[in-house]
Symmetry: C2
Subunit: 396 residues, 2 copies
């Protein structure tokens, strides 16, 4: 017997459908479905149905979400921001568990049901932030699926003892191994990447590397990364986050790198920042490279910006890539839905029989309007359960 029948909604392609849910999964989806009289019936009012949204790159452990405004007086260099944060967290008693929970709940209310979050691992904090995020992961299990990336925010080689902590984090169940600027931060890219991929190989875990390095430097490092992904046969297991270099090299060099990324099935994560060169969504798609989206940090000591609304991130991806036509704006939604699921390996995803019943209703005529208008979600269903209505937690 089914648990929920969602009637009278429109699929992203525009056809009228109903959705039948059982045991947290989509039992059936199509026109004119029926269920026994005692199944919970929900009228979608003709709203647009989207699959649960996906945050492909954030830092739940860094946020100040739910706390008083953090006054940002930080200097402009990457190392200023790294050092400021480590000092502030130690002094302020910042708690990764409560802050990550507040932000993850805000994500859920806005229809996000899967999150990849990079969690700082460093020799000051050890695994403290990972343990905090794990508490949130357990608390929200079945509603928000949280993937953790063990992330050496303060560098890997440059802070002795970090590799051992990453090893421990993976042993304790972190899902993915993170990396950070092997040239610019670690100053020894070949060795840094050898250590990193050695750890990933030891634990059989995917890799997701922050690569802020610009232009030809970033392209050089990217090739070193791809050499190792190729040698270890890690198809579909490597993500390059930011990949700013793909927005800052000449057309021929870009073409070669995109071909190699496609061949090795290495995905690219973009936050679509307005103030930096970025990988172009159109070029990646045309080359067959999976490109997907995320916020990066949200209201933390690095940046006051960001939002737990992934439709807002889709808007920013649209603006950054000058996606104006309705069919182009669907690419922006793809970045925070199907492409993100593929890149991060979130299983049982989508609006199809057997998938997890993560359903989002938006009052919009079409996908483009949903992305641009970003009204509070009419309904959010996570793992088959109604969790939010009109942007507010649903009362059980």
């Amino acid at each position: 017997m089914a648990d929920l029948l969602l009637k009278n909604v429109r699929s992203p392609k525009g056809d009228s459908v109903d959705v039948l849910v059982r045991g947290g999964r989509i039992l059936d989806i199509g026109p004119g479905l029926h269920a026994d009289p005692d199944v919970t019936l929900e009228d979608g009012g003709g709203a647009l149905l989207l699959p649960g949204l996906i945050e492909g790159h954030t830092h739940l452990d860094k946020t100040t979400w739910g706390s008083p405004w953090y006054v940002n007086k930080v200097g402009p260099a990457l190392t200023d921001r790294i050092d400021n944060e480590r000092t502030w967290r130690a002094a302020s008693g910042h708690d990764a568990a409560s802050h990550s929970r507040a932000l993850a709940q805000a994500f859920l209310r806005a229809g996000t049901t899967r999150i990849r979050t990079h969690v700082d691992i460093d020799t000051d904090a050890g695994l403290k932030h990972l343990h905090g995020v794990n508490a949130t992961r357990q608390e929200l299990a079945g509603r928000v699926e949280i993937q953790t990336v063990a992330f050496p925010q303060s560098g890997l080689l440059v802070r002795s003892g970090t590799a051992e902590l990453l090893d421990q984090a993976l042993a304790e169940g972190a899902d993915v191994l993170g990396g950070l600027d092997p040239s610019a931060i670690d100053r020894d890219p070949a060795k840094s990447l050898d250590v990193l991929f050695g750890l990933a190989d030891k634990h059989g875990k995917p890799v997701d590397i922050h690569l802020h390095e610009p232009g030809e430097l970033g392209a050089f490092t990217l090739d070193l990364i791809l050499d190792r992904a190729q040698a270890l046969g890690m198809r579909g297991k490597v993500v390059i986050s930011h990949a700013f270099c793909l927005g800052g090299i000449d057309a021929k060099r870009l073409d070669g790198l995109l071909k190699r990324l496609a061949l090795l099935d290495v995905a690219v994560l973009t936050t679509a920042p307005a103030s930096r060169p970025v990988p172009a969504v159109r070029a990646c798609r045309e080359a067959g490279v999976t490109i997907f989206g995320g916020n990066d940090g949200i209201r933390d000591t690095w940046t006051p910006y960001g939002s737990p609304d992934m439709l807002e991130r889709a808007t920013l991806i649209g603006l950054r890539n000058d996606l104006r036509r309705d069919d182009e704006i669907e690419w922006a939604l793809d970045c925070v839905t199907h492409a993100a699921a593929r890149a991060c390996g979130f299983a049982d995803y989508g609006l199809a029989r057997g998938a997890r019943a993560d359903l989002v209703l938006v009052d919009a005529a079409c996908v483009a309007q949903a992305v641009v208008q970003r009204t509070p979600r009419r309904l959010v269903v996570a793992g088959g359960v109604i969790v939010a209505r009109n942007g507010e937690d649903a009362i059980a």
Copy 2:
């Protein structure tokens, strides 16, 4: 006797103040003000007080706001978009009066009390769009101050008869003379600018020129514009809208142009698009050039993006210019408040005795939070009258 006493608010600098309003103006502002018992008393609840927000560059006559979603299938070239719009408006029965009114009212609910709008003047439509926007201007007089720019969207020289229509628009009371890419569109920059500045001089009106031309081409045209502004002594009367060229030339050339803009008191309008080179807020401010902000079109046949919330535009200006520190984000607010008033010549502006009582209350600890968080405005006072509460029209 006063009309309104707004108690218990915080100024942008953070000090607790009250505001006394009489005859639509600020009679007094400061701590601990009192009024007669029969004056309307409004408790601001400790919210942050901002001056009425300003939209420095939009196209009220183009919007589809308040209508069903416009499905965008337009080609990528500037001329594709110009031609598509003219054809669509003729075929759809688009009405500049009703659409501009719907959008202007949405602006007001979000705290915008002054708008500079460019209005298409072309040989197909004549002054029809101007008359439509004028109807809105009259209807909202005393609440939203609307400045009209007579704008040759389809070109000035390239469509014979346009100059005569602009002449007529200015004679009928359009506030500002607009221009469009004298090189790229009109193909004869010297003659185009001679005609344009001749008309402005004849009517004694300011000029606001859309300059999309990139790099050295735009810099060349900009110098031609500045030559004429200088010859006619138009200090404070010329705006360069977009000025993308200022984001696409080398440092020495940029430095020279910024110095000349500052010397001639010519202002720069930025919409801060994420996908194009733009003038940098920091560089303009450091050079003494007034830089201010606007949406450009909002949900029209050109673009699905844009919003009547000028705090959202401030966010986008912040993101485009990588303004992260609280003190930097105050520059983004300046772009949609004081700098815009100065550039457009909106009189009696600000939170000071004698200014028009255009007051906006935001639930935020400080300016940076107001910009980034963008909650619905707690209260909007326009011309001394409470017009909106919590994003909804106030019931009189």
